[in-house]
């Protein structure tokens, strides 16, 4: 499958300006989420109670959310592929599928939060739960932002058959949000 440059603009790196900007956004996100994950690892090594607390997270919901995000990553790459072929209908369809799966993720996450809070695990229960809500909350916020941006691109750009490169740019961001979850999932749900 061939790829051609669909964004214009000058750049010393040879990377279209918009995409280069997204790489820099992702670079800064690596430090934000990576710092959180490194902090989690240190605490997990230090405090036996963290492993005990992690045993209360719901693996089924965590697993389902992993599935939604992996599948949405697949859809957004199909949207990108369609955008390269200037197929607005298909690109919009897959963008909306991705938004739908992001919605599934947020729905499951909300249910999970509600269950945990009703069982007494709140932001202030312990350091583990503070971390849990901070990391998953920040990640969930990224999912929400991605959904909003994707809806704008689908309806404001692709529907009007312009700014095709934005599909790839939001795709890169979305994949990164997926990668963050790939690491949060074993940390919070699997390693018990």
């Amino acid at each position: 499958m061939g790829h051609k440059i669909i964004a214009t603009g000058r750049s010393a790196t040879g990377i279209p300006t918009g995409r280069l900007a997204v790489w820099w956004v992702i670079a800064s996100e690596i430090v934000i989420f990576g710092g959180l994950i490194a902090t989690y690892l240190l605490n997990r090594f230090l405090h036996g109670s963290w492993a005990e607390s992690a045993a209360y997270t719901n693996t089924f919901i965590g697993g389902a959310n992993t599935f939604w995000l992996l599948t949405s990553s697949y859809f957004v790459v199909l949207a990108h592929s369609a955008a390269e072929k200037r197929d607005a209908k298909t690109a919009r369809k897959y963008l909306w599928y991705t938004i739908g799966l992001g919605g599934m993720f947020m729905g499951f996450k909300s249910y999970e939060y509600a269950t945990e809070i009703s069982h007494g695990f709140t932001l202030f229960t312990s350091n583990f739960w503070s971390f849990y809500y901070t990391a998953t909350g920040l990640h969930g916020f990224h999912v929400l932002c991605g959904m909003v941006i994707m809806a704008i691109i689908a309806e404001n750009d692709i529907k009007k058959e312009r700014n095709w490169h934005r599909v790839e740019n939001i795709g890169l961001y979305w994949h990164f949000v997926d990668i963050v979850w790939i690491f949060l999932f074993p940390l919070l749900y699997i390693a018990k």
């Binding site: 280069l20 670079a27 607390s53 697949y74 312990s126 997926d178 790939i182 390693a191």
Partner: protein, 135 residues
């Protein structure tokens, strides 16, 4: 992006799903086989975190096309990962050891750690038999 060929997206997606199933199955298999201690730890580390790394690689390389991107993009990302390692190893020795050449850490017990059996050797709580260089 330059012209290139890559495996079909569907194949990558299916591979990611298979890896996901293995990562969830790892600790379950450890429970079924009644694995304990180091064996269980190794199995969980490989199936959970080893596979997370492989999954992240496939998403980065093929979904994000990093494998076919200009070299600057991976350099940008790798420099940030290097910074993370500086952060982790810069603070890990301080966090995980209870004493050093010229310092000794005041033991801190988290409220939720009270009464918790610190049988592992990772603790920051100074013990008489702890020389502080267990890592």
């Amino acid at each position: 992006m330059a012209s290139h060929s890559h495996p079909s997206y569907l194949k990558i997606y299916i591979m990611l799903l298979v890896l996901f199933v293995i990562s969830v199955a790892g600790p379950e298999i450890a429970d079924i086989m009644k694995l304990e201690g180091a064996t269980r730890l190794i199995l969980v580390l490989i199936t959970a975190f080893g596979i997370a790394l492989v999954k992240a690689y496939y998403v980065l390389a093929y979904f994000m096309h990093l494998k076919f991107e200009k070299i600057y993009a991976p350099y940008i990302l790798l420099s940030m990962v290097a910074l993370l390692f500086v952060f982790f190893f810069g603070t890990a020795t301080d966090a995980m050891k209870s004493e050093g050449h010229n310092w000794e850490k005041t033991p801190i017990v988290l409220p939720e750690d009270k009464g918790f059996d610190h049988h592992d050797d990772h603790g920051d709580h100074s013990h008489d038999d702890h020389s502080g260089h267990d890592h």
